[in-house]
């Protein structure tokens, strides 16, 4: 199954998304042969209780090949309990937004969350950049120090960390085997997957759709690497977590 590990649905408060509803996102992916992956709620990013948006999205994903990557802000109280609740309900991953929620990856609350995620066997997607910083409106994204990711992954060896929506220039060094990256955000140069300082076998397809153009993300994947990045990579990712 071809999978997109970085898809979203919902409303983005800062500009109109024409194909942002879950139905549109699923249909657009299916039309391009992508029938599963991890879906996150755009609404949950700005909700004080993200589950208010994540719960309905989880319910709507039932019966599809898609799983919920729930939102978490580790600066909120009882974050570990929130993760537990999400996993019990069926969330398959947790997505962090340090650039939006305003904390550093070296914050103790991140370590606390990673410990909880290790215990829950919950992959952690670390969203580096959602919008081009030149075009932000109201939201000002805080830079994320991605150089800390290899060290974080080494300190939490039972966690699976994914550098997500990460511009190519910010992609961390390869790091340990439990550090992955998705392709969303890499495509700012010609042939963006060539000469990457990151192991090809730990690259997963991500589109950042519908904030970003799904077709652009797909065009970045050379035909000869399509199966590896869209199908085999995600399978290996899930096997590593659940075996």
């Amino acid at each position: 199954m071809n999978a997109d590990l970085c898809a979203f649905a919902g409303n983005w408060p800062f500009r109109r998304l024409r194909r942002g509803s879950l139905e549109d996102v699923l249909a657009d992916h299916a039309a391009r042969g992508i029938t599963g992956g991890l879906m996150s709620s755009l609404d949950a990013i700005s909700y004080n209780d993200p589950w208010e948006a994540d719960g309905p999205l989880l319910a709507a994903l039932a019966g599809t090949g898609w799983r919920l990557a729930m939102a978490a802000d580790p600066t909120l109280p009882r974050c570990g309990a929130r993760l537990e609740r999400g996993v019990r309900a069926g969330a398959a991953a947790v997505r962090l937004y340090p650039s939006v929620h305003g904390y550093g990856l070296d914050s103790p609350c991140v370590s606390d969350l990673l410990r909880a995620a290790e215990d829950l066997r919950l992959p952690v997607l670390i969203t580096v950049q959602l919008e081009d910083p030149r075009l932000e409106y109201l939201l000002r994204q805080r830079p994320v120090d991605t150089a800390l990711l290899p060290e974080l992954a080494a300190r939490h060896p039972r966690a699976a960390l994914v550098a997500s929506c990460c511009p190519r220039a910010l992609l961390p060094e390869a790091g340990p085997e439990n550090l992955w990256a998705d392709t969303a955000g890499l495509g700012q140069a010609l042939f963006p997957l060539e000469d990457l300082p990151f192991p090809a076998e730990r690259l997963l397809f991500g589109s950042c759709a519908p904030l970003q153009c799904l077709d652009s993300a797909l065009l970045d994947i050379p035909p000869e690497r399509r199966e590896q990045i869209l199908a085999l990579g995600p399978e290996r990712f899930w096997r590593r977590i659940h075996d």
């Binding site: 998304l17 030149r134 000002r140 042939f191 799904l214």
Partner: protein, 252 residues
């Protein structure tokens, strides 16, 4: 693919890296079906006359040696001799348009005689325009500057690059100006900018540009995905460029 391919009206050669950039663009042309690439050379933010001459020499050299490429002459209007540089580009080595360098706003008085020359020879003027939240460069035009220039020079044809940077800021400002086209080149790969541009300007005033050696897929993906008739897609990817650049007419 040669013959009916895409025309990319916005790509670059960095000073001193022309061969490397050209090699990348040749590969991209092969992979994505691009028939012609219009390039200009880029250097420092505040170039002197010698640097401008070097930029244009490398553009001229590439366009003379490889028919995949045609060139804009890069002009910094505030420099003495800018009109001569423009003339040399147009008359000596066949530049197809003028690329206005970001060392000066596009509605400053020093640009006027350049625009008059371009109008007389039918040379479109490519203007980098970007309304940034942070990091706006001195001399970096926005759509407001493009609007003022276009109103003052109704016989000159302007291309506002990058949809003005922030399309919601830029496109309404040029919507009523028939002598302004827009390209959607750039590293922005938002899924909704081109549909918005189609509503604002219509397919007839939109041009495909990549900003190579930056990403070509950012623009190409949007052109593939945006909802429009196939004839409109073809217009944006090719036919509008043929109409706007008379010297490409032999390709039709």
């Amino acid at each position: 693919m040669r013959g009916e391919g895409i025309i990319d009206i916005h790509a670059h050669l960095w000073l001193g890296r022309a061969e490397r950039d050209a090699a990348l663009m040749r590969r991209a042309a092969e992979r994505y079906g691009i028939e012609r690439i219009l390039v200009s050379s880029l250097g420092s933010h505040r170039p002197d006359g010698d640097e401008i001459a070097a930029l244009n020499r490398q553009t001229a050299a590439l366009t003379a040696s490889d028919s995949l490429f045609r060139g804009y002459v890069t002009v910094a209007p505030e420099l003495p001799g800018s009109l001569d540089a423009l003339r040399r580009g147009a008359e000596d080595w066949g530049a197809v348009g003028m690329k206005l360098w970001v060392s000066c706003l596009c509605d400053e008085d020093v640009c006027d005689r350049l625009y008059d020359y371009c109008a007389g020879r039918g040379l479109p003027v490519l203007i980098h325009a970007f309304a940034k939240t942070a990091g706006q460069l001195p001399g970096e035009s926005t759509a407001e500057n493009v609007r003022r220039a276009a109103l003052r020079h109704p016989d000159t044809r302007f291309i506002m690059a990058h949809l003005g940077g922030n399309c919601y800021h830029g496109l309404p400002l040029v919507r009523d100006l028939p002598n302004v086209w827009a390209d959607f080149s750039g590293s922005t790969r938002r899924a909704d900018d081109l549909p918005y541009a189609l509503e604002q300007l219509g397919a007839g005033r939109l041009l495909f540009g990549s900003d190579m050696p930056g990403s070509v897929t950012a623009s190409l993906g949007q052109a593939m995905a945006a909802p429009m008739a196939e004839a409109e897609r073809r217009a944006i990817l090719r036919d509008n460029a043929l109409a706007l650049f008379p010297s490409l007419g032999g390709m039709a």
